[in-house]
């Protein structure tokens, strides 16, 4: 059992209990034991952590990370990815099946769980395949996958192509109490695209990813969620059209949720003028009006959560021309600071709201024990210096992938320590 820990001197930020004040946090046996404990309740030999001038918040939760193991370990392994997650302040990440073989059986779920347990880094939860072999035809054995520990189902990074399959799965999953995640895109409309379809792509001669390819997929998704009363999460979204659809359907009380990636809140398609593959990301960097609409949608909760969009690809794969280079980016270690820079520094969100969108709300969507500092909950905690500025230097990444659209950028919000089950597993040096 880990030593008891007392975190003091910081500001406790926990949206799940409307907490935003200075205070002390006591952790015993890997769980939150008390907030502002009396001195008599603090055990002897407690490990104290000074969090002066820092935020003490529930660890971040990522709704969609590619870890690439098994099959593509040159891009990322479960160990390197979950270590990168810790460095970015994440204590729980949901891994999608961009692997070979894909995660569509009890054994494959078990493989990920064992590997992540060995890594002793961030908790890795499995998003099981929605369809067998991720072929988009027949449902995978969703009940058995859920028993094995899958917390959600998706064919991500692929979109769910079949309307009928999605409808059937939404109906079926109501008995499993698991959400379905869809990456909204009509593949035929997006085929061959490398960047946002707009004025910049027109001038550069690069094939565009049209916003309609996402808008139409979101329209289908929200309609089926409404028709089936199923639990559906769409994301990451990147367009004004998607926001408009989500806003309308949510106003009718449909329980669909959505997420966005920090890069879509921060940068626009103008950067593609350099033709650098590090800007070839998915969803693509869109035009400025989309960026500002997405930021506002995070504020008014039309978009519920921010996910990193971590899509690691090896350096060799990113050294080709833009058509040959895959979509990819390393973002676990920059995600929080990017979102903070885009949303908090600009005054759109406060720190409590940001923690809500990156920890509390994603944990609720995934249905996992995380995203809170309530007494009795897992002591998965991040300590952040909100005022520290830092420059993105990919050579310092723990991730195997060093391709990032934020290279050289000045960001705010540095992760100082990340604790899982009350154990300090990452510490900024």
């Amino acid at each position: 059992m880990n030593k008891p820990v007392l975190i003091s001197g910081g500001t406790l930020v926990d949206p799940s209990q409307n907490l935003n004040r200075s205070g002390r946090l006591l952790v015993i046996d890997g769980r939150v034991a008390a907030i502002d404990p009396a001195d008599k309740d603090i055990p002897d030999g407690v490990q104290t952590i000074d969090a002066s001038s820092c935020l003490v918040a529930p660890g971040l939760v990522d709704l969609g990370v590619e870890l690439r193991e098994p099959g593509f370990e040159e891009d990322e392994t479960i160990e390197s990815g979950s270590q990168a997650a810790l460095a970015g302040g994440y204590t729980s990440i949901l891994a999608t099946a961009s692997t070979y073989p894909v995660i569509d059986s009890h054994g494959s779920v078990e493989f990920v769980r064992q590997k992540s347990a060995q890594a002793k880094a961030a908790r890795v939860h499995v998003i099981g395949c929605l369809s067998k072999g991720q072929k988009g035809e027949q449902m995978a054995e969703l009940g058995l996958l859920a028993e094995a520990g899958a917390v959600a189902f998706s064919d991500a990074p692929r979109a769910i192509r079949s309307d009928a399959l999605l409808k059937r799965a939404l109906e079926y999953c109501r008995m499993l109490n698991r959400p379905i995640f869809d990456r909204p895109e009509i593949p035929e409309m997006a085929a061959g695209g490398v960047m946002h379809d707009g004025k910049v792509s027109l001038v550069l001669g690069l094939k565009g990813l049209p916003t309609e390819a996402e808008d139409l997929a979101v329209a289908r998704d929200v309609r089926l969620a409404e028709a089936t009363d199923g639990r559906l999460h769409v994301g990451p979204v990147s367009t004004m059209g998607a926001v408009d659809l989500l806003r309308r359907v949510k106003s009718r009380g449909v329980a669909v949720t959505a997420s966005v990636c920090p890069h879509n809140l921060m940068q626009c398609d103008e950067v593609m003028r350099t033709y650098e593959s590090r800007y070839k990301v998915h969803p693509p960097l869109r035009s400025p009006n989309h960026v500002s609409t997405l930021c506002q949608a995070v504020k008014d909760k039309t978009i519920d959560a921010i996910q990193s969009g971590h899509m690691p690809r090896s350096r060799e794969k990113m050294m080709n021309d833009l058509d040959e280079s895959p979509f990819g980016m390393s973002s676990l270690e920059t995600s929080f600071a990017t979102a903070a820079t885009a949303l908090v520094r600009s005054g759109i969100l406060d720190w409590v709201e940001l923690i809500d969108r990156m920890s509390t709300r994603p944990a609720q969507i995934a249905g996992i024990d995380a995203g809170t500092l309530k007494v009795g909950s897992n002591a998965d905690i991040v300590i952040i210096d909100p005022n520290a500025g830092w420059k993105v230097d990919p050579s310092q990444f723990r991730s195997t992938c060093i391709s990032t659209p934020f290279e050289g950028m000045e960001l705010i919000g540095r992760v100082c320590k990340t604790l899982v089950e009350g154990e300090v597993r990452f510490q900024y040096q």
Binding site: Y275, E316, M319
Partner: protein, 329 residues
């Protein structure tokens, strides 16, 4: 051999670029310099086809990842007329076919001691990638549908030779704008030199977004023809299209091919241009292609002149850059 060299120092003093990647990023003055030097070199090499020893001892590598005959030969001839050596690399049999990255292939070729890499590739931005990765000069000979700057320059030179100036002319680019690198170089070059540019074709090939960028967009050729001083007829790039953007070649030709009947709608001194290869009967009928208004073969001749100009100017800027580096400036 007569080696009377043209006086070019007045142009080279103000030229600083070591790469020619596009026309969008060039200033009007830079484009004029390229054209002026091209004209001077053309004048100096015309007639007896003499060579000028301006670039003796230098080597130009043609790194073509897409099929090309005229552009590759045009670059080779341009280099040779200035006394440089040339070396040819193609994608078939190259190391990229064995899995080597494009950048590594280019670095290997550079390591053989070349002064310019002239590159053609199906993906936009590959010359920019090379300019970042290599230390020698990089010249874009066509990157997918993005740009083909020397084609744009030779079109400008041809128009200028006939009309004296580009400014104030109305020039229509007709055809497959969506997939045309020639169009994108023409668009920027013409605009910077003061022409009114009309982009004409079916909406599936001509995006309305061009209007937001300050260009006139038209879908009916007959309506704009009477206003045009120059018509540049662009080939339908079937090889770059994912889906056919019009119902049939027959319908396209009926709506957009320049033919004898349409010539009656045009002004008496209209210039008919085409970057080639031309599809007779699709964009242009034989009587127009071979008619008195056509300058298609002059464009080919001018291609060598503008490529000589570009090679020369990049080389001078490169020498200056390397001298400054070695002097620690």
């Amino acid at each position: 051999m007569d080696h009377t060299l043209p006086e070019l120092t007045g142009y080279t003093d103000t030229w600083h670029r070591r790469h020619l990647l596009d026309l969008e990023s060039l200033s009007a003055d830079e484009i004029r310099t390229l054209l002026d030097v091209a004209q001077a070199l053309k004048d100096a090499t015309e007639g007896c086809r003499r060579k000028l020893p301006l670039l003796s001892g230098k080597t130009c590598a043609n790194l073509f990842f897409e099929n090309s005959t005229r552009t590759r030969n045009s670059f080779s001839l341009a280099a040779k007329r200035l006394g440089a050596d040339t070396v040819e690399f193609g994608s078939s049999g190259s190391s990229t076919a064995k899995g080597e990255t494009f950048a590594d292939t280019a670095k290997t070729i550079e390591a053989m001691g070349v002064d310019w890499v002239v590159t053609r590739h199906s993906t936009p931005g590959t010359p920019n990638l090379l300019a970042r990765e290599l230390t020698c000069c990089v010249m874009n000979a066509g990157d997918g549908p993005h740009e083909h700057p020397t084609q744009g320059l030779l079109d400008l030179l041809t128009i200028r030779q006939h009309r004296g100036s580009i400014e104030g002319l109305t020039v229509a680019l007709v055809g497959d704008i969506a997939h045309s690198r020639t169009a994108r170089s023409n668009i920027w070059g013409l605009k910077k030199l003061g022409a009114h540019v009309i982009i004409c074709g079916p909406p599936t090939l001509v995006s309305p977004r061009w209007q937001e960028l300050g260009f006139e967009v038209a879908h009916h050729l007959d309506e704009i023809l009477p206003r045009c001083d120059v018509l540049n007829l662009l080939r339908i790039q079937f090889e770059r299209q994912h889906a056919r953007p019009f119902p049939s070649v027959h319908e396209y030709a009926a709506l957009y091919a320049m033919n004898a009947k349409r010539m009656q709608l045009a002004s008496d001194d209209i210039l008919i241009m085409a970057p080639g290869p031309i599809n007779r009967g699709v964009e242009i009928t034989p009587e127009v292609a071979d008619g008195p208004h056509s300058v298609i073969l002059e464009q080919v001749t001018n291609g060598i002149a503008v490529r000589m100009s570009a090679l020369y100017l990049l080389s001078v800027a490169d020498d200056r850059y390397r001298n400054q580096l070695s002097a620690g400036v």
